[in-house]
């Protein structure tokens, strides 16, 4: 089972997977821009790889400081009683905002992978980075106020006053906001700021206006950087006295004199009247790199300045011209990539430089003549030049030299180092990538003080104790990427002080502990072979850190006592063969454990036994294939804080993994990073015992479901959740995620905005997750319940109130409503009325009624009116009681027309009908209409019995029948009109 390389897809996708490759080449390919970073990298690499302290994606390298975990939890807020609670409560603020990423680098180092343009200063942990910022105030309002570092990228025209007042402990501010105008109070309240960067990624130049007093609030500002900006419009900017680093890269500066105009306080006032006595030098580092137009140097441009370091990388400035600038003091000068062909002897001599960086220049040889002025140099960097040899007087001419970087030169194939005085102080020598094939015996004999020796990337195939003779104080020896096949026993015999040895990328296949004999305190060891690596007894028990890389690693000795003091162990192998006799591992002091590849030694039945043996383990990084991960069950790891599980292969889908089955008993877990482990469903049980979990990182998951029950756990969910390249399941179970991510206070969720969801494994529709939720998962059960219950209560109340008590007003209301309703509906209540007009007459008038009246009224439209008439003689039923019939007919008629004549007044029936009609009218005023038709003029006295009628009848209710037949037509129309009106009134 061999695999030549890990799948490339994975290298791209995850920073941790890429880490190994990068680290391998790092210390040889990364140009050292300063000497300071040339620290014992091997030793730190061990730490980096396990502890995870390196930001490989930015340019900065830093160490994690100890995390303060309880800081967040202690927030004191005043509280009032429940009844008044809401008056005092301040609104919490959720951190998750579109475009912003928040992270705590104390939790997991490579969180910064998710924050591409925000390299940090060391020591800063809590940081935020926002991209595409357009409305600065709106963006800043939602960020937590205890940020230590803030990076902003976008387009903001004006930096208004008190823009950053919300962040009192801000220490680093990096602004990539395009052309910008800073108002004078913009940095008010940010008194703790130490680093301020104005950056523009493309080279020169955007305009930046900085008012003279903009930097006043900073009492602690240490570094100020302008990159890609042109500050031509600003002048006389007051620099805070605490400033030690000033950077002007890629600016449009053409003359050093401009610097003086821009920052008058930078150089002491040249005029004698000025208060030069109070001026004290404060600036230490001035970085003028990459100013491609900076050619002109006026005399006295830097008059009186006392610098520690000056950087002029890639600047077409002649180093010799510095002599005329009036610069008083300079310790370190960087002239990287300036096309120099000779050592700048004059400058070095004039300033008595301590450090000189000449990397990436074209120096082919150093002559003895160049050396005399350089006796003060302590650090010299000649990285990536074309040196073939060093002059013979090199070391004797540079007696102070401590660190010498000669990497990427052409000093091979056989190293010839000039002999120097035995008192040479050189402690670091970097000879990597020089094409060396062999080291002569006692090659370093002239350098007895050497502590670090870097020989990586050469073609050295053989090493012996003679070659390394005389290095009594050597602590670090780097032999990575050489062609070493075999090492002799005792080859380290001449290195008694060696603590760190790196042998990665060699061809050593059999490595016995005997080879390590000699050094008393060897604690860090890195061993790597291409295919096989077999380890033999006796193994030194002093090792603190061990890294092994090969295709197959085999242990040929008992593992019980060999690693008693080992704290860091990294194993990268596809196959690990334990000794045949004893398979028990024993790592009592192991704290950091990294496993990569498929170490089948830790297959299921072994892992049970392995992890309980690691009582002090704090960090576990386990990258393996899915079958291995499936069987991992972590228990008995009481101090495990960081757990990283990942599928190295990333090729084939494995079985669904249950998180709760893996995390059996890890009570102190703070960081959980899972990559490509094929989680199907996260549910409550996954997080049951993880009370201290603060960071959850899920990378490359497909069809992830977040169970609805997790909603209950929101208060206990980790503070930082990163979904990176996660495809969710398109289901409404997940709908709680959106409010959680967007609004939970003090919680940051990364990567929901751009994630997609899938219905199942074969779905390729790429539905955006959040839009799926908002489109399909509307839960309005609450509203429905509200409506239902509200309606029920209202109905019950109103029905009970209407039906229960006998409200008088209710009847009025009811009648009104009913009438209104009927009117609205246009229905007329016909059933009550059978007739329109009841005609009352006596027998003598019957002939007239039948001949004239009936045809005029009853004839259908248009000749007559079409009224339904009730005539007693015609319409009363046979055998019916006449009085009853009269009363009921009158009731069911809309109006009553009494035909009055002298005969009628004499007729008892007519009289009765008239009385009945009068009674109706009096009893129900307004409801019964009565009309009187006088056939002939009647003396009023004969009507005296009906004088009360006058009170009830109106003028138009009396109708006199005209004598002349000419007027009859008019009369009929008048009568019809009157009757129609009466009928209509009744209907209304």
């Amino acid at each position: 089972m061999k695999r030549k390389q890990l799948p490339p897809r994975h290298f791209k996708r995850h920073p941790r997977a890429a880490e190994w490759t990068i680290t391998d080449t790092m210390n040889v390919s990364k140009p050292d821009s300063s000497f300071a970073s040339n620290t014992p990298q091997g030793a730190i690499l061990v730490n980096r790889a396990w502890v995870g302290v390196v930001d490989f994606h930015g340019t900065n390298v830093y160490l994690i400081s100890p995390s303060s975990l309880e800081e967040v939890r202690r927030m004191k807020r005043p509280l009032l009683s429940f009844t008044l609670l809401s008056l005092l409560m301040s609104l919490g603020c959720a951190w998750t905002t579109p475009g912003c990423t928040i992270a705590d680098s104390s939790l997991l180092s490579n969180i910064s992978y998710y924050i591409p343009f925000c390299p940090l200063a060391p020591g800063l942990q809590f940081f935020a980075s926002c991209s595409h910022v357009n409305d600065l105030a709106q963006t800043l309002a939602v960020l937590p106020s205890r940020l230590e570092a803030l990076c902003l990228q976008g387009t903001v025209q004006v930096l208004s006053a008190n823009a950053f007042g919300r962040f009192p402990i801000l220490k680093l501010l990096r602004l990539q906001l395009g052309p910008i105008r800073v108002t004078s109070g913009a940095f008010q309240g940010v008194t703790q700021l130490q680093h301020l960067f104005f950056e523009h990624p493309a080279p020169c130049c955007l305009s930046l206006f900085l008012p003279a007093d903009a930097l006043q609030p900073f009492g602690l500002l240490r570094s100020l950087s302008f990159e890609g900006y042109c500050l031509n419009s600003s002048h006389s900017i007051q620099l805070p006295l605490s400033l030690s680093h000033l950077t002007m890269r890629h600016s449009c500066m053409t003359d050093l004199q401009e610097l003086k105009e821009l920052f008058p306080s930078l150089v002491p006032d040249s005029s004698p009247i000025g208060s030069s006595s109070s001026w004290s030098p404060f600036l230490e580092v001035l970085d003028l790199s990459a100013n491609l137009q900076l050619r002109q140097v006026d005399a006295r441009a830097l008059q009186g300045l006392q610098l520690h370091s000056l950087r002029l990388e890639s600047t077409p400035l002649n180093a010799g011209e510095l002599l005329g600038t009036g610069l008083l003091h300079l310790d370190s000068l960087s002239l990287v990539d300036t096309g120099i062909k000779k050592l700048p002897r004059d400058v070095t001599a004039n300033f008595e430089l301590c450090a000189l960086d000449l990397g990436r220049n074209q120096i082919q040889s150093i002559e003895d003549d160049d050396l005399p002025g350089c006796h003060s140099l302590e650090h010299l960097n000649l990285h990536a030049n074309s040196l073939h040899a060093l002059p013979t007087r090199f070391f004797s001419a540079l007696p102070q030299l401590q660190r010498l970087n000669l990497s990427m030169n052409q000093l091979g194939p056989t190293l010839v180092l000039p002999a120097g005085p035995v008192s040479s102080n050189l402690s670091m020598l970097d000879l990597s990538l020089n094409g060396l094939r062999a080291l002569p015996a006692r090659a370093f004999f002239s350098l007895p003080q050497l502590q670090e020796l870097w020989l990586g990337g050469n073609n050295i195939s053989h090493l012996s104790s003679e070659m390394l003779g005389g290095l009594r104080w050597l602590k670090t020896l780097d032999l990575n990427w050489n062609q070493i096949k075999v090492l002799e026993p005792g080859w380290l015999a001449s290195l008694p002080a060696l603590t760190s040895l790196t042998l990665l990328g060699t061809h050593i296949e059999n490595f016995s502990g005997r080879l390590l004999q000699g050094p008393q305190q060897l604690s860090h060891l890195q061993l790597g072979a291409w295919e096989f690596l077999t380890l033999y007894n006796p193994w030194p028990s002093t090792l603190l850190s061990l890294e092994l890389r090969a295709e197959i690693v085999e242990f040929k000795f008992s593992l019980r006592e060999a690693f008693l003091s080992l704290e860091n162990l990294a194993l990268q192998a596809y196959w690990v063969l334990p000794p045949p006799t004893n398979t028990t591992f024993h790592f009592p002091s192991l704290r950091h454990f990294t496993l990569r590849g498929c170490p089948s030694i830790f297959s299921s039945h072994h892992t049970y036994g392995l992890f309980p043996q690691l009582p002090l383990l704090e960090h576990l990084h386990f990258w393996s294939d899915p079958q291995e991960i499936e069987h991992v069950q972590l228990s008995g790891l009481p101090r495990l804080r960081v757990l990283e599980l990942g599928d190295v292969t990333g090729f084939y889908p494995s079985n669904q993994m249950k998180l709760e089955e893996i995390l059996m008993e890890v009570p102190q877990l703070e960081v959980l990073a899972l990559s490509n482990v094929n989680l199907e469903d996260l549910s409550v049980s996954s997080f049951r015992d993880l009370r201290f979990l603060r960071l959850l990182l899920l990378n490359s998951e497909r069809v992830l479901g977040l169970n609805r029950s997790l909603q209950e756990l929101i208060p206990q969910m980790p503070q930082y959740v990163y979904f990176s390249d996660v495809i969710f399941k398109c289901q409404c179970e997940n709908s709680w995620v959106e409010p959680w991510a967007a609004r939970t206070p003090n919680t940051f969720v990364y990567g929901l905005e751009n994630s997609i969801c899938m219905v199942n494994g074969s779905d390729r529709s790429k539905t955006p997750f959040l839009s799926f939720l908002s489109a399909y998962c509307l839960d309005d059960l609450e509203f429905q319940s509200f409506l239902t219950s509200f309606t029920l209560v209202l109905l019950l109340t109103s029905f009970a109130l209407l039906g229960g008590p006998n409200w008088p007003w209710l009847h009025h209301l009811w009648a009104l409503c009913r009438a209104w309703w009927l009117k609205m509906g246009g229905w007329h209540h016909r059933s009550h009325y059978v007739y329109d007009v009841f005609i009352s007459y006596c027998g003598q008038d019957q002939a007239w009624v039948l001949a004239e009246l009936i045809p005029a009224l009853e004839k259908p439209f248009p000749d007559g009116e079409g009224l339904r008439l009730c005539l007693p003689e015609r319409d009363f039923g046979v055998g019916q009681d006449r009085i009853d019939a009269m009363a009921s007919s009158m009731e069911s008629s809309r109006a009553t027309l009494c035909v009055l004549s002298r005969h009628a007044l004499g007729s008892p029936w007519s009289n009765l009908e008239l009385r009945l009609a009068t009674y109706h009218m009096v009893a129900k005023p307004g409801t019964a209409r009565l009309l009187l038709l006088f056939l002939e003029p009647i003396d009023r006295r004969q009507l005296c019995g009906y004088h009360r009628l006058a009170r009830w009848l109106q003028q138009e209710d009396y109708l006199d029948f005209p004598k002349r037949s000419v007027d009859w037509e008019a009369f009929w129309s008048k009568l019809r009109k009157r009757l129609r009106k009466a009928v209509q009134e009744r209907e209304a």
Partner: protein
């Protein structure tokens, strides 16, 4: 004991004249007409009347019980819901996750203001409403408004909660005024039904002597207040059965509480902003609210179905007989009575002591020392103490009526003094028995105060 003879003939039962003639009346055509239509020969009018009034008295008792139970359920549901919602809304995480930028604290403060401030205006319209709707229907309507408030808590928005709270505030005073009036009226009726003979002798329209129904009123009020104080215990049921499962324990909630009781500044300073260990799912909340809604509905049905009318339709007395013109003066009518004027401080005190029991005592002492998870049991202790001690109001039967009132105030004074010198240790359960007994004793004082005060008031006005 010999069984009473039945009032009416029973089919198949031996009649008074023997088994041969079951009805005791000659039947058939030959029977005299007046035997058929006349009164039953063995008709005992006295007995009939006695049974009739006994039924009436039982009806009155049923009315009192139903009204008390309805009131207790309503108030319990309302308090329980309010307490649960305020605790939930207090939790920062819950608030932010569920309501986001809706401005819930603002809504809550407006809601509480609506509930607490609107009743001040109630003096003006309460008599009008009771005059208009009548005592029973006012009760029913107010209980319905409480139910509406419960219903709006399903869907918490500004435009549901605040109007509902204002309406509820408007209904509070009419509810309890009509409830008190109802209880008093029931006592009067009970007196009438007990002393029906005297009334007949005095004449039907004669009013009973003033204060003659006092013993019955005391008993009824003891019943009413027993139920009423039980509502505080009912209000804790949502917490006990639902919310307590979601709360953090005292080590979390009280983590930054330094001082309790008399040493503390403010009621509960330093209380954690997050109190929920888990957030309740909205479905579970809907279930709880549905249960509360059902109970509120039940209370409505109880008042509607089981509470008889307070007055007979023809009985146009008291409030209903007051003209519309005078109706606005009614609230101030009693101020003319100097005895009642003396009760005014007691009314104010009576309101504030419950407030103190629920906030200062329960929160500043109880929760501060024992954690939020014990709030429910503390209030249950208060409730049970008060409910049981409501029976002490019956002391007024034998002692002067002012004795319970003064005893309650004295007890509260002693407790206040005791609490003033006591600062329980935060995050400790060792003083729990002191707290439970203090709270229960405060409940006893509350009960004495309430029963004493209302009997004084009802005697004074009734």
């Amino acid at each position: 004991m010999e069984a009473e003879p039945p009032l009416y003939p029973v089919v198949g039962a031996p009649g008074p004249q023997g088994a041969e003639d079951p009805l005791g009346v000659p039947d058939g055509l030959e029977a005299p007409l007046d035997e058929l239509v006349g009164a039953y020969p063995n008709y005992n009018e006295e007995e009939e009347e006695r049974r009739y009034y006994r039924r009436k008295r039982l009806g009155v008792l049923k009315n009192v019980l139903a009204a008390s139970a309805g009131g207790a359920l309503t108030y319990g549901v309302y308090l329980g819901l309010l307490q649960m919602q305020l605790i939930l809304h207090y939790d920062e995480t819950y608030r932010e996750v569920k309501y986001g930028n809706m401005g819930l604290p603002d809504i809550d403060s407006k809601m509480l203001m609506g509930i607490n401030m609107t009743p001040i205006a109630a003096l003006l319209y309460t008599p009008v409403l009771i005059r208009f709707f009548g005592t029973k229907w006012m009760m029913f309507l107010a209980v319905g408004i409480y139910a509406l408030f419960v219903s709006t808590n399903y869907w918490e928005r500004y435009y549901t909660l605040v109007p509902a709270a204002v309406t509820l505030g408007m209904a509070i005073v009419p509810l309890w005024a009509s409830m008190g009036n109802y209880i008093t009226r029931m006592a009067q009726k009970y007196y009438e039904y007990v002393h029906y003979k005297e009334q007949e002798e005095q004449g039907p329209r004669q009013r009973p002597p003033r204060g003659s129904h006092a013993p019955y009123l005391l008993v009824f009020q003891a019943i009413f207040y027993s139920f009423f104080h039980l509502s505080f215990a009912c209000a804790q049921l949502p917490m006990i059965y639902f919310l307590n499962h979601y709360l953090y324990d005292l080590n979390h909630t009280l983590s930054s509480v330094k001082n309790c009781g008399t040493n503390s500044h403010g009621i509960l300073s330093g209380f954690n902003k997050t109190v929920l260990r888990m957030l309740p799912q909205s479905r579970n909340l809907i279930v709880v609210e549905s249960v509360l809604m059902a109970v509120a509905f039940l209370a409505m049905l109880l008042v509607l179905g089981l509470c008889g009318a307070a007055y007979r339709p023809t009985e146009e007395i008291d409030l209903r007989s007051v003209g519309w013109g005078n109706i606005f003066q009614l609230p101030f009518k009693h101020v003319r009575d100097f005895r009642l004027r003396h009760l005014v401080p007691f009314f104010i005190y009576s309101g504030f002591e419950v407030l103190f029991a629920c906030t200062g005592l329960a929160l500043g002492y109880g929760v501060c020392s024992m954690g939020l998870e014990n709030l429910a049991s503390l209030l249950v202790a208060y409730s049970l103490g008060a409910s049981a001690a409501s029976a002490l109001g019956l002391l007024g039967l034998w002692l002067p009526r002012s004795v319970p009132l003064v005893a309650g105030a004295g007890l509260h004074l002693l407790l206040t003094l005791g609490l003033f010198f006591w600062a329980p240790v935060p995050k400790s359960l060792q003083h729990s028995w002191i707290l439970y007994s203090a709270v229960a004793l405060w409940g006893v004082g509350s009960a004495l105060n309430k029963t004493g005060l209302s009997s004084e008031y009802r005697m004074g006005t009734g």
